[in-house]
């Protein structure tokens, strides 16, 4: 017993030291632009962009392989911020922007299993075991990771409702 613990500890310490030195001396310089873009992204690694997490998407955007608009939870404002940083123009599309989608819970079928709570990367879901859960809209990043967790399909993604404080005049329609 003692011998096993000692040998494993020593092995771990030696390997750890080797790895630590390797990290210091063989480190590959990351693209600072990628890091900068990654810092702008939501960081919930939801994968809706089709890349492996926010770091992957940031690398693809920096390499010019993905558009700044590829992040659905980030939405328009993120696209504009990234485009400004990269100095590129971004086509936001003339189509109606439904705004960010956020999770919503159908309280009549929620069974209070807390699976969505554990999956939520921003702690936006409120509730406890066998209690009806609820989503705090302001904190929901729209990553949709909770949707697949729900055993009763009580979770849906919905656009944020427009409130009086947020409404603004549409752009005047152009005359034909």
């Amino acid at each position: 017993m003692l011998a096993a613990i000692l040998s494993l500890t020593i092995l771990g310490a030696v390997l750890g030291t080797v790895l630590g030195f390797a990290n210091r001396f063989f480190q590959v310089e990351g693209n600072p632009l990628v890091e900068e873009i990654e810092a702008l992204m939501p960081g919930s690694n939801c994968g809706q962009c089709g890349f492996p997490g926010c770091a992957g998407a940031a690398a693809a955007i920096a390499a010019g392989q993905a558009s700044p608009t590829c992040c659905p939870p980030g939405g328009r404002s993120l696209a504009v911020t990234i485009a400004q940083r990269l100095g590129v123009s971004v086509e936001l599309g003339g189509a109606e922007d439904p705004g960010p989608l956020v999770a919503d819970i159908d309280e009549s079928i929620c069974i209070g299993c807390t699976r969505c709570i554990r999956a939520c990367p921003t702690d936006a879901i409120l509730g406890g075991p066998k209690q009806i859960h609820n989503v705090m809209r302001d904190s929901c990043s729209g990553c949709a990771q909770c949707i697949d967790q729900c055993p009763t399909e009580a979770m849906v993604m919905q656009p944020l409702p427009v409130t009086l404080q947020q409404w603004f005049w549409p752009k005047p329609a152009l005359r034909a």
Partner: protein
């Protein structure tokens, strides 16, 4: 005084327009007081800032002036019951807003008695501490009655953090069609001046100047007579030109000082209040009466008996019109419904919206007054009329061209933030381009983007917080596990040790025994 003075004042700001004022005959009709209708719809947000929180329940009996909405946050205002009755519902009502979106509100069924709750009166407001006056004004839910509905207490009790040496009372009422301030000054001049004196005491300003446009001779005469005994309050006659009632332009004309771009009047030691607000402050401080009614101008070619009416807050616009004799069907009938004036007011889709604290007018215009026609929104011919009309000195045509092309940031670089949305540019535009709508859209777009950035930042913080928490929990779990492992190891070692000690003791004993033997 005289022609030279008038010329100098007019020259102080460039731009502006002279629309037909349409103020008479409504301004000359005597003031009417409307009794509370059977049902009142009181929105919980009638001001700039956070909505109030309902503090009554459905079925509760309320009395007139009883607080039913508690202010939330630093910039907010209390809401009071406009009459006595029963709370019928707390929920969504149609907002007096062009979007037609719902707003949370309290519906009160009047019991017809209109009885006040107990009020805290004060015989000598000038003996009160300025901070106490601010508190009383806040308790009464008074907001600026000129239209912007900014909570007045914040401006009165020095909440803006700057020393104020000049109090300006905005009684210019430059919007066409509106005459509620004019009527208020004619009929309640003494009350207005008393309110101004209380505000003067509360703000600590050296003097107060009341700016009235020269198209209201009766109001000027009444106010001059009322200020006779007050050395520190002066009536100033200013030329009639739209937008004279814009806070920054009024300050410029009265003092020659300019409020810095994107700044506030308090930056140059000035605070501006509407004359109607002065009366509301007086009622709040002297009689403890909250703001539960206001003067509304009902005007437009389609109104049978245009005039000024004192309306309980929460009365539906349609009921106010019915009180004024209803609508005329001649000239093609109503073409447009407006709350507020025709230049900055809001077009509303229905008359089933309540009068709120910021509603200065209900206008029902016919087709001739709306004046829509052929060629609306044709291309810009770059005549530059909008540029000459702009009282802020912006280039409306350039800003609108950029907004039209979707370049909101470029529009912002042309000074969009300083646009006061007065509508002078759209008023003079020969192509009748909806310039102000472009500006409103662009400002909304910029605000939405700022909100989006804020949201992304919050979410980033939350994501990091959760990741850290999960990591910490795992580390703690691992540490606890390690501790437990170490503890069991120690226990095992301890179990072995006593055995060793015992063996040694036996050995010692045998040795001793050997020695002895």
């Amino acid at each position: 005084m005289g022609i030279l003075d008038r010329f100098l004042r007019t020259a102080r700001f460039s731009g502006g327009v002279h629309p037909d004022d349409h103020k008479r005959p409504a301004a000359d009709a005597p003031l009417r007081v409307m009794p509370p209708p059977a049902r009142l719809y009181v929105p919980l947000v009638q001001h700039i800032g956070s909505p109030a929180r309902a503090i009554v329940a459905v079925g509760d009996h309320v009395r007139k002036g009883q607080r039913i909405g508690e202010p939330q946050g630093a910039v907010s205002a209390a809401i009071h019951a406009p009459t006595s009755g029963r709370v019928n519902a707390i929920g969504d009502i149609v907002a007096p807003h062009p979007s037609g979106l719902p707003v949370r509100g309290i519906t009160i069924a009047s019991d017809g008695r209109d009885e006040w709750c107990e009020l805290e009166t004060c015989d000598d407001p000038f003996a009160l501490d300025p901070a106490e006056i601010g508190r009383r004004v806040a308790r009464a839910g008074v907001v600026g009655l000129g239209g912007a509905a900014f909570p007045s207490a914040v401006k009165i009790s020095g909440g803006l953090g700057a020393r104020v040496d000049l109090l300006i009372i905005n009684a210019s009422e430059c919007e066409p069609f509106l005459s509620c301030d004019d009527r208020l000054m004619r009929d309640r001049a003494a009350e207005s001046v008393d309110g101004i004196a209380i505000m003067l005491h509360a703000t600590g300003a050296r003097e107060a100047r009341i700016g009235i446009e020269d198209n209201k001779p009766e109001a000027i005469a009444a106010m001059r007579a009322a200020v006779a005994g007050h050395a520190r309050i002066r009536v100033e006659v200013i030329p009639t030109r739209y937008p004279m009632g814009s806070e920054k332009h009024l300050i410029l004309v009265l003092t020659g000082r300019e409020v810095p771009a994107e700044g506030r009047p308090s930056d140059i030691g000035v605070v501006v209040h509407n004359v109607g607000t002065a009366v509301a402050v007086r009622n709040a401080v002297r009689f403890g009466r909250p703001l539960v009614s206001r003067m509304v101008t009902v005007n437009g070619a389609c109104v049978r008996q245009p005039g000024n009416v004192e309306v309980p807050i929460g009365t539906l616009a349609g009921e106010v019109l019915a009180f004024c004799g209803g609508l005329r069907a001649e000239h093609g009938g109503p073409a447009r419904l407006l709350l507020g004036g025709p230049m900055t007011g809001m077009q509303v889709p229905t008359l089933e919206v309540p009068v709120i604290k910021g509603t200065g007018g209900i206008l029902v215009l016919d087709a001739a007054e709306v004046g829509e026609g052929e060629g609306d929104g044709s291309p810009c011919i770059r005549c530059g009329d909008c540029m000459r009309a702009c009282p802020v000195g912006l280039l409306p045509l350039e800003i609108a061209a950029r907004v039209r092309a979707g370049e909101v940031d470029a529009a912002a670089r042309f000074g969009l933030a300083d646009c006061i949305a007065c509508g002078c540019c759209a008023y003079v535009c020969p192509s009748r381009i909806p310039l102000v709508q472009y500006f409103h859209h662009a400002k909304g777009e910029l605000a939405a983007r700022a909100r989006g950035t804020q949201r992304n930042e919050t979410i980033r913080t939350l994501t990091r917080a959760k990741a850290e928490r999960v990591e910490r929990e795992e580390r703690e779990k691992a540490e606890a596990l390690a501790r437990r492992a170490a503890a069991s190891l120690a226990a095992a070692a301890a179990a072995k040790q006593p055995a060793a000690v015992a063996e040694k003791a036996v050995e010692d004993a045998s040795e001793e025994a050997g020695v002895c033997a």
